[in-house]
């Protein structure tokens, strides 16, 4: 049964993942090339370069993820109520899936685990290549460490989406997610300004001095969103 579910997820998602990886890669390369072409190579410039890269990467990642995440999580029965009013619903094959002897929470957990792992892998590939490009342009390796923060940071986004999908339409989620991302980018940009005045605080926030703290925070947030989703799935009046 588990093998069948994994196989289904793989066949359903691999094309989206190829698109996602390719889009991330192209966007990242474009951003890296542009940044390295217009900036100097001093330590201060390297910081600026890296932060600008991270902001750009985050913005592009979010733009793509907004489209990819809800699609990835569809078909798990997170929200069937919308489908009851129409013939087809958000996912026409959902009724077949829900007729199988499996709990919604199990469907959701398998699907999200698979989707998240696949997206992490895709982003890791894209990020790795982009970092190589930046390093090649003269950014010291140790300055690229905060870029790894992007990987655990994906998980809270992913599970926030899963939670939102239970209550809102995909169109509404795009708006909510865009607002969250915009807030995050503004916060990071502000931190960048503070960075040179209160260096350590910004450093912690970016995971430069305490990357584990950042990873821990991402894991806690992800777990909280995922657990809330599962809790609601079991209790919701569909």
């Amino acid at each position: 049964m588990i093998a069948a579910i994994w196989r289904k997820h793989w066949m359903e998602l691999w094309k989206r993942l190829v698109f996602f990886t390719a889009a991330e890669l192209l966007a990242g390369i474009a951003s890296s090339v542009e940044l390295t072409a217009f900036h100097g190579h001093g330590p201060r410039q390297a910081h600026a370069l890296l932060l600008a890269f991270l902001l750009g990467f985050l913005a592009m990642f979010s733009a793509i993820a907004i489209v990819v995440f809800p699609g990835q999580l569809g078909g798990t029965g997170l929200n069937t109520t919308r489908g009851l009013h129409t013939q087809t619903g958000p996912d026409p094959s959902l009724l077949f899936t829900l007729s199988l002897p499996i709990r919604r929470r199990v469907l959701f957990l398998y699907r999200s685990a698979f989707g998240l792992l696949a997206i992490e892998a895709a982003v890791a590939v894209a990020l790795g290549i982009d970092c190589l490009l930046l390093a090649h342009s003269g950014v010291p390796w140790h300055m690229l460490v905060p870029a790894l923060w992007v990987l655990p940071a994906l998980a809270p986004f992913y599970f926030l989406d899963s939670f939102l999908l239970m209550w809102f339409s995909e169109g509404t989620i795009v708006v909510i997610q865009a607002l969250v991302v915009a807030l995050l980018i503004v916060a990071l940009a502000l931190l960048y300004r503070v960075y040179f005045h209160a260096g350590k605080m910004a450093g912690i926030a970016l995971g430069h001095f305490a990357p584990l703290l950042g990873v821990l925070a991402a894991c806690l947030l992800s777990t909280a969103f995922a657990a809330t989703t599962v809790w609601c799935l079991d209790r919701r009046n569909y």
């Binding site: 026409p92 919701r236 569909y238």
Partner: protein, 299 residues
């Protein structure tokens, strides 16, 4: 009359969708081993009821049980679905799977999978194993849905418009399959607008209107209860004569009246004779007439 215990039972089942009472206090009892037709007009609440029975949506009120287990309990619902074959109103599958892959995928969930039924359906429905499910025609989609439902080795089949899109040969095969499965002891509960099919195979009917069961009985009993009476009078038909006698539909043509009676046919005949009727004939009614009388009464 069925004396077997009810496989499906519901009391006062309710579901509200937005501002509409999709199901408004439905009472239902489907005995074990029966073939029960679930009939009603569009929007009567059939599909919503079926979705509640399958645990796809939760009731807002009332109680429903299948195999004695509550339908609104997540874990119990999984046990119910383990023993239930299902055909959804929307016969859509994973478009990236071939027919063979859909079969393999579904089989993985049912240890009691029936290979004999799989082979039989493949042979009789002529399903193309290598074609992607997303490329199947509507009729082929229905055939695949039936194969996946019949082969689950289920004790109960819940089928929502199972013959939708099927050609007459496939419909005939489906009806034979239903009878064969019932012969093996399976209980079959299916909704359909094809009253002839229902009449052909069902031994029990449940008619639903505006979310409530308006008739739920054995088909034979329904046909005994409803009779068509043709009466000829020497003069004009005294239409008021039949008020309060259970006459549902009265059609008058010249000196003749055609009545659909729900209840005591003999009392109606006696009253007609007392009023001078020269001829009184009884005729059985079809399920369609019962349906029109029961569900389409206000039309």
């Amino acid at each position: 009359m069925h004396s077997e215990p009810a496989v499906i039972s519901a009391e006062g089942l309710r579901k509200r969708l937005g501002s509409i009472d999709a199901v408004a206090g439905l009472d239902l009892a489907v005995p074990q081993g029966s073939i029960c037709g679930f009939l009603g007009r569009n929007g009567a609440g059939k599909t919503t009821t079926i979705k509640m029975l399958m645990g796809m949506t939760r009731p807002d009120g009332g109680e429903g049980r299948i195999f004695g287990e509550p339908i609104d309990h997540e874990v119990a619902s999984v046990r119910i679905r383990q023993k239930t074959g299902f055909v959804a109103e929307v016969k859509e599958f994973y478009p990236f799977f071939t027919v063979q892959q859909m079969i393999d995928f579904t089989r993985a969930f049912y240890p009691q999978w029936r290979n004999d039924w799989e082979r039989r359906c493949l042979r009789e429905y002529e399903l193309p194993l290598e074609r992607k499910a997303g490329k199947l025609s509507k009729g082929m989609g229905s055939k695949l849905a039936l194969l996946l439902a019949f082969s689950r080795g289920a004790e109960l089949l819940i089928l929502d418009e199972p013959t939708d899109g099927l050609d007459p040969i496939a419909i005939e095969a489906f009806l034979q399959h239903v009878v064969a499965l019932a012969g093996e002891g399976q209980t079959i509960f299916f909704s359909s607008h094809q009253l002839q099919e229902v009449e052909q195979v069902c031994d029990r009917v449940c008619l639903i209107d505006r979310g409530k069961a308006v008739l739920e009985t054995d088909l034979d009993e329904a046909k005994t209860r409803f009779r068509k009476v043709s009466i000829t009078f020497p003069d004009a038909v005294p239409e008021r004569l039949f008020e309060g006698t259970g006459v549902g539909r009265l059609k008058v043509r010249g000196r003749s009246a055609s009545l659909l009676v729900n209840g005591d046919v003999e009392a109606v005949a006696a009253r007609a004779r007392q009023a001078g009727a020269t001829e009184v004939d009884f005729a059985p009614v079809s399920l369609k007439e019962i349906f029109l009388e029961t569900v389409g009464g206000e039309q």
